[in-house]
């Protein structure tokens, strides 16, 4: 595996993404919603409740909302790859550029890694940028209100450091498999959303009803994601092979 070869593919895909307004809007808008809009909603909601709560209850409610917000940073790496990955692979199918690409002295693994990194890097990049904005807004507010910073905490560190990258890898791999079966970018995005939807629903549901600490939940979900990542890695590797692409992909 020659990483520099993969990087050539990655940088080409990133150049293509830069020219695609839909991808650029998605890369800006989704982290903006989670990083900016969400904490403002939280702050507004907390402000409305403030008069009915004791200081301890108020801090507890603020902590809960901050943690709830943190979990949304798993949604970005789940959603964005289905948008970008569709352009990366289905886009190549539509432009019929896979054959000349496969004719180059590059291995299947190098191409797959290059394409995966092209989705993974910007996705995680904007996830972290969104997280920094989220933490900043929440901390400015909490410092003014309570005189201390709410975030970052261990929960957020596990979510951003472990869970989000694992979720991103899962979404990227799922997208490779989906892209082999469809010829339409929208269809790939829709299918991608459907595949990752159970994960989203589970996370939102779990955060609402869970009786176990968030950190434990995050670690449990991360372990599950890691197993799923390994399984999907082999499946996507088997799907992304020259012979398969040229003879079986639709």
């Amino acid at each position: 595996m020659r990483l520099w070869k993969s990087w050539i593919v990655t940088s080409k895909d990133l150049s293509v993404f830069k020219k695609n307004k839909y991808i650029l809007y998605s890369l800006v808008s989704i982290p903006f919603i989670v990083g900016v809009v969400l904490p403002l909603i939280f702050i507004y909601a907390l402000g409305a409740e403030a008069t009915q709560l004791t200081q301890a209850q108020f801090i507890n409610a603020a902590n809960t909302l901050a943690n709830t917000g943190s979990i949304y940073f798993v949604l970005i790496p789940v959603i964005l790859p289905s948008i970008m990955g569709s352009y990366s692979i289905v886009g190549e199918k539509i432009e019929k550029s896979l054959e000349p690409l496969l004719a180059t002295p590059t291995t299947d693994g190098e191409l797959l890694l290059g394409k995966s990194l092209a989705t993974f890097i910007p996705t995680m990049g904007v996830t972290y940028i969104g997280a920094v904005i989220f933490v900043t807004i929440m901390d400015v507010w909490s410092y003014i209100k309570f005189g201390f910073f709410l975030l970052p905490n261990l929960d957020l560190a596990v979510i951003l450091g472990v869970m989000a990258p694992l979720a991103c890898v899962l979404s990227v791999e799922a997208n490779v498999i989906i892209s082999s079966k469809v010829n339409d970018i929208r269809a790939a995005q829709n299918l991608g959303s459907i595949v990752v939807l159970p994960l989203l629903l589970f996370l939102v549901f779990a955060i609402q009803i869970t009786i176990i600490p968030l950190i434990l939940l995050a670690l449990l979900v991360s372990a599950t994601l890691a197993v799923a990542d390994i399984a999907l890695f082999y499946l996507s590797k088997a799907t992304f092979q020259r012979e398969e692409i040229l003879t079986k992909w639709k």
């Binding site: 695609n20 019929k96 054959e99 000349p100 690409l101 002295p105």
Partner: protein, 309 residues
């Protein structure tokens, strides 16, 4: 340069290519003719190590197509122009070629030099920074050819290089292939265009799953009928017919209006004697022409025979 022996590819129960044995010399332009679904693209894909074979053997230079380490070397030494240009529309012509130059491991200085040389040669250097999506089909095809040549490949596979192009763009592409021929590159040309094959190729193979014929265009054309000489006369008279029938070189004679149609083994050698005999018999000759089958006649006959089997 290219050798195959009983090369076979099956897709489930469907045999796409069966027992194809051929040899292409270094510097040769080799045409591959056949109807849709004849196995031309499948053969190219096997030779470029894009898909595997199910039988037989094939090699390019010193490398065989069934070893992974050889495949990387084969891909490095061949250039492929697939049926669809497959360029990145949102990227510039330069960026498209640069990307492929990097993947083909062309050093940066050489890459820049090659891109400029090719784009200038094809007359698109001035538009190197324009997005490929803005170009016409013909120009895109030119860029795709430049892409296939970005790493100076020893062997070039061209799959339908002029398909869907207007006559002017087709001519540009054909002229470019002729230039490449002068550079002594080995070119393997898949085409439906018989005229193109005749003009460009040193030898032609006709394929319909199996290889039906391989020869030079001229020999293929001669293979269909005996060579015929047609003599247009002012009048065909009995003394003329008697004089012509008396010649040993004439194998068969037919008359049609004021024409004599003659089967000759060696027209170059025997026609002067034929002309003398007709003149001596009082004939007034208007034209002497050769009736030869075209590549199209040969192609259609061979393909029909293969279909009937």
């Amino acid at each position: 340069m290219i050798d195959t022996e009983n090369l076979t590819r099956k897709f489930g129960s469907l045999t796409a290519v069966e027992n194809v044995t051929l040899h292409v010399d270094e510097g040769e332009v080799f045409g591959f003719l056949g109807p849709n679904g004849a196995g031309k693209t499948t053969t190219i894909r096997m030779l470029c190590c894009l898909i595997g074979k199910t039988g037989g053997q094939a090699s390019i230079g010193d490398y065989t197509i069934d070893k992974e380490e050889d495949c990387l070397k084969i891909r490095k030494m061949v250039g492929l122009l697939p049926e669809n240009v497959g360029l990145y529309d949102s990227l510039s012509a330069y960026r498209n070629l640069d990307f492929y130059g990097k993947l083909y491991e062309v050093p940066e200085a050489k890459r820049r030099e090659n891109i400029e040389h090719l784009l200038r040669l094809l007359g698109i250097w001035e538009r190197k920074d324009d997005a490929v999506g803005m170009f016409s089909k013909g120009t895109k095809q030119k860029i795709a050819i430049a892409r296939a040549l970005i790493h100076d490949p020893q062997v070039l596979f061209l799959d339908e290089p002029t398909a869907n192009l207007d006559p002017e763009a087709s001519k540009t592409v054909r002229d470019f292939v002729l230039d490449l021929k002068k550079e002594k590159r080995t070119i393997f040309l898949n085409t439906h265009n018989l005229d193109e094959a005749e003009r460009l190729c040193d030898r032609i193979a006709i394929l319909k799953t199996r290889l039906i014929a391989v020869d030079s265009p001229k020999n293929l054309e001669r293979s269909l009928y005996n060579r015929k000489t047609i003599v247009h006369l002012e009048n065909v008279t009995s003394p003329i017919i008697a004089a012509v029938k008396g010649l040993n070189a004439v194998k068969n004679l037919k008359t049609s209006e004021n024409m004599l149609i003659l089967d000759m083994d060696n027209p170059e050698r025997d026609n002067p004697e034929l002309v003398r005999a007709i003149v001596m018999a009082g004939g007034n000759i208007q034209y002497v022409t050769e009736l030869r089958s075209t590549l199209e006649d040969v192609y259609l006959k061979l393909i029909r025979e293969a279909s009937a089997r």
